[in-house]
């Protein structure tokens, strides 16, 4: 598991399901359908991403699909960082 994925999983588990072992959370588990992250939870995730990875999240990008799974969040973070590097 790469470092970014590990950090995201650790955060999700600690914040939303502290009773679950980190290794049980699959990369492609649907956090929204599973009710792990709801609209309020999504805001928490975004705030944490901005803080942890020093990226800006534009409200217009705040579609649920970007944050549906750990893999999607990781992809979003990677993309945002690449964008930042390119500037």
């Amino acid at each position: 598991m790469d470092e970014t994925t590990a950090k995201i999983k650790a955060f999700i588990v600690e914040e939303f399901m502290p009773d679950v072992p980190v290794e049980d959370l699959e990369d492609d588990y649907d956090l929204l359908t599973g009710g792990v992250v709801d609209s309020l939870g999504l805001l928490k995730v975004v705030a944490w991403l901005e803080d942890e990875f020093d990226i800006g999240v534009d409200d217009s990008e705040l579609g649920p699909d970007s944050f549906r799974t750990v893999a999607a969040i990781k992809a979003y973070v990677d993309q945002a960082r690449d964008g930042a590097h390119a500037e």
Binding site: M17, V20, P21, D24, G35, V36, S39, L40
Partner: protein, 512 residues
Amino acid sequence: MSQTATRSIADHFAEQAARSPDAPALIWDGAPISYAELQGLADAAFAELEGARLPEDRPIGVRAKKSPEAIALILACLRSGRPFLLPSIELAPETLAQLFAQAGTSQVISPHGPRSESAASLRALVDDTRSGPDAPGSEWPPAGGAGGVSFMLTTSGSTGLPKIVPLQTAGVDAFTDWAAQQFEIKPGTVVANYAPLNFDLCLLDIWTTLKHGGTVALVDQDRATQGAYLADLVNDNQISVLQAVPMLYRLLIDVNREDGRTFPSVRHAITTGDKIPPSSLAELPKLFPNARFYNVYGCTETNDSLVHEFLGLADGNVPTNIPVGQPIPGVVVRVQQDDGSALEGTGTGEFMVWTPFQTRGYLKSSLNEGKFVTLDDDGGRTYYKSGDIVRRHEDGTLTLEGRADFYVKVRGVRVSTQVVEQAIQEHPAVVEVAVIAVPDDLAGARLHARVRREPDAKLNSLQLRQHCATRLARTEMPSTIDIVTEPLPKTSTGKVDRKAVAAELERSRAHG
């Protein structure tokens, strides 16, 4: 008044006592009390009642914890032909005083004797609540007429003052005859009484049994949550009819897991008052190898109205959504849609019912509005609106969707917390669950689930969410799930106490 009442239970009891004086009427604390002995206690109580020269036209208040003397006192009240109010002894003193005043009771009496509580505090209460015909707020007689009222029970209303439900003697007679036939209660039958004395359930397990010459084994209220005590009571007394809330069955299942004990004497195992979890239901054939299993649906206002017999439980035929049952003979059911019309065919609506046993209305007639409705399009029949939402399936069976009161709005969508509980309960590792709607500025309400898992199961919230994902809509999915191993708080009736869970949740939030 004693001329107009049929006094049926007391008369039948006296006949049984004359016919078989040595037959056991009660079993209390391991010892039998014969029909003759109980009749003796009832005679003494009756003499005291007569000696008190209470006004003929007022009800009596009875404050009694379950005991042989308490049962004798109620037999004496029945014999006197007077209505009597029998509220829960666990109510706050002020609430009790209000109820006794509302009923216009001439006096509040309590049993006394070596096996009863007859503390001075009870006497004090009697003096405080003595309320003559001029008592303010007195509602007696009931709107439906005083004719032949015997028991006056109270609803277990969760908010406000419990409602007083006067029961006509004729209705009680019809009910006790139906119950005796349905569950084969006759001389020699031993029936367990689990519920407190003020519950309508006692009309089946205590009063049907004493009317028909059987034996009642009384569960001591103070030990009602001790599995080993309950298991001994069932086996030592060869109980054949068992009626209780699901909690009792849960306690016996735990005993069975610990020491493998089974209960072969039980012929009829009745669950009532709450939905029995499928995980408990599946275990019952192992515990009760010779029993038939029933779910009985009813309430204080109508008494029992529906019975469902579970067939094929032993072959693994465990329904996940338990049918509420078939109408008892004479009972009329109406499923009413939102537009006020009766549902034909499949769909959902509010369960409305008329039974031959039902009250003519609450004592306080202003409470009847919206609960008892007379429908001109239905022959002028007066139905009781249960507040339960039911679904009628293609084969005509009805299942409970939830209480109308349990619907909350989550992100603008109507969600039943009971539907969510049901879905969670279907997970095999779940013992019991409470789903609470937590007020939320953004969503309106967010759902919190507290789940008690089997002690040896490795259930976590992620697995539970995966389980629910195929059963629940997105808005029905709890926002937070708290998995515990200790029992959830219970109400005095043995149901999961969602309010207590909500209060604990509130406290833990307040403390960060």
